[in-house]
């Protein structure tokens, strides 16, 4: 999806640039021609020439804006769930994988289950028990991969 949105946005920007450039060229050419034609042009005449931009340039501008909008909308990431149960279910079901962005990194504001703290309780951790459990885990062979590294 991303390359589609990118190319559409790029096309829109190109159109917009072209429209701007055309408008600028038009006004520049017009003012020089009127200036050379008559130096006695009234103020209203100047205003009318400014207002009369060719219709194709206006259309191009409007189309370009819409195309850019379309491209940006196509490129938006998937919407986050706003219902509590859906969001919570996503956390439980998908874990970290559900919250990765396009680069494969976990989102910065991802915290997993925010209420997990209430069960792991960092303020009350029993570090000696954890150490014992870890030592057991190593003894059972869980740490073979790690042991070879260190």
């Amino acid at each position: 999806m991303t390359w589609i949105s990118k190319s559409v946005t790029g096309l829109g920007l190109l159109l917009l640039t072209h429209a701007c450039y055309s408008a600028h060229e038009h006004s520049a050419l017009h003012s020089t021609s009127t200036a050379s034609l008559s130096s006695m042009a009234s103020h209203t005449a100047v205003a009318s020439t400014v207002a009369s931009l060719p219709i194709d340039i206006s259309i191009e501008t409007v189309v370009a804006v819409f195309v850019i909008c379309l491209g940006l909308v196509l490129g938006t990431p998937e919407l986050r769930p706003i219902q509590w149960r859906v969001w919570a279910g996503k956390i439980e079901r998908e874990g970290e994988k559900g919250f990765t962005n396009s680069d494969g990194n976990v989102d910065k504001d991802y915290v997993g289950n925010p209420f997990r703290m209430l069960e792991s309780r960092p303020g009350f951790i029993d570090i000696r028990k954890q150490r014992k459990e870890f030592a057991e885990w190593v003894r059972e062979g869980g740490g073979t991969a790690g042991a070879s590294k260190s």
Binding site: A41, S42, H43, V46
Partner: protein, 261 residues
């Protein structure tokens, strides 16, 4: 052409080097100085004693019970309500139980409140003094210079804002005087300070002004001059009239309806 002829004023380029840049640099440096002065002057928040913490958190517990009463069963709710209302009315959680019923101390004589006021005063001073000084300095040295021309047209209304100190009636409002540049710097250097000092710096006065406008609700709740006993009584009343609706009523039917296998 009926256009107004473009005004051209020939400025000495030295104006640019000796007024515009110095004012900007001085403004940035004072901002940084103010930031560090505030950091140095800041007193660490005074630690609260255990009874004070207990008082606040007990009140919060009542509020929690009131807002989330639906999560627990009516029996448990009733027990908690009876306990808390009774304790609130007797003043069990008060910091000084024997002082119950007395009027709240005058915030001016309360040393704890005084300290908070001093802090605010210091902050204000750190903002006011440099501004007065620099304003005076600019007025004395650089008043009356036209310095730059803004690249966009402006209406005549901006004249008083942009050409302070230059009393010329016919000059285009695009031209800007040195004092106006100073005023612009005060408000425009916000993002520069954010970049230099981090987003929560003390140099940004906007944040300070915002802080003065709406002090946090927490400060209001436990601020000086508020009688905790009154708060407890009010909370007791709130709790005793609360109608509880248990969320677990009919949860199994709700679940069976929503879950699709």
């Amino acid at each position: 052409m009926a256009q107004i002829p473009v005004q051209t004023i020939h400025r000495d380029p030295q104006l640019f080097y000796w007024i515009l840049i110095p004012i900007t640099v001085v403004m940035i440096l004072t901002g940084i100085l103010r930031h560090y002065a505030t950091v140095l002057m800041a007193t660490t928040p005074k630690k609260q004693e255990l009874p004070a913490i207990r008082e606040q958190r007990s009140l919060l517990r009542g509020i929690n019970l009131r807002t989330n009463a639906n999560a627990i069963s009516p029996v448990s709710f009733q027990a908690r309500k009876d306990y808390l209302v009774n304790a609130y009315e007797k003043g069990d959680f008060l910091k000084e139980p024997d002082k119950k019923g007395q009027a709240a101390p005058n915030p001016m004589t309360d040393p704890a409140a005084m300290e908070g006021m001093m802090g605010m005063m210091k902050g204000n001073m750190a903002m006011m003094i440099p501004q007065t000084l620099i304003m005076g300095w600019i007025n004395a040295f650089f008043s009356g210079f036209v310095m730059i021309k803004l690249p966009f047209p402006l209406t005549i209304k901006f004249k008083s804002m942009l050409q302070a100190g230059v009393a010329t009636r016919d000059m285009d409002p695009q031209w800007m005087s040195s004092i106006s540049w100073y005023v612009l710097c005060i408000f425009g250097l916000q993002s520069v300070f954010n970049y230099l000092l981090g987003s929560d710096n003390a140099a940004s006065q906007m944040a300070q002004q915002m802080g003065q406008m709406g002090p946090g609700a927490g400060a209001q709740m436990f601020g000086p001059g508020v009688d905790p006993d009154k708060q407890f009584q009010a909370e007791a009343e709130n709790l005793s009239v609360l109608a509880q609706e248990y969320t677990l009523v009919g949860v199994e039917e709700r679940l069976l309806e929503t879950v699709r296998v």
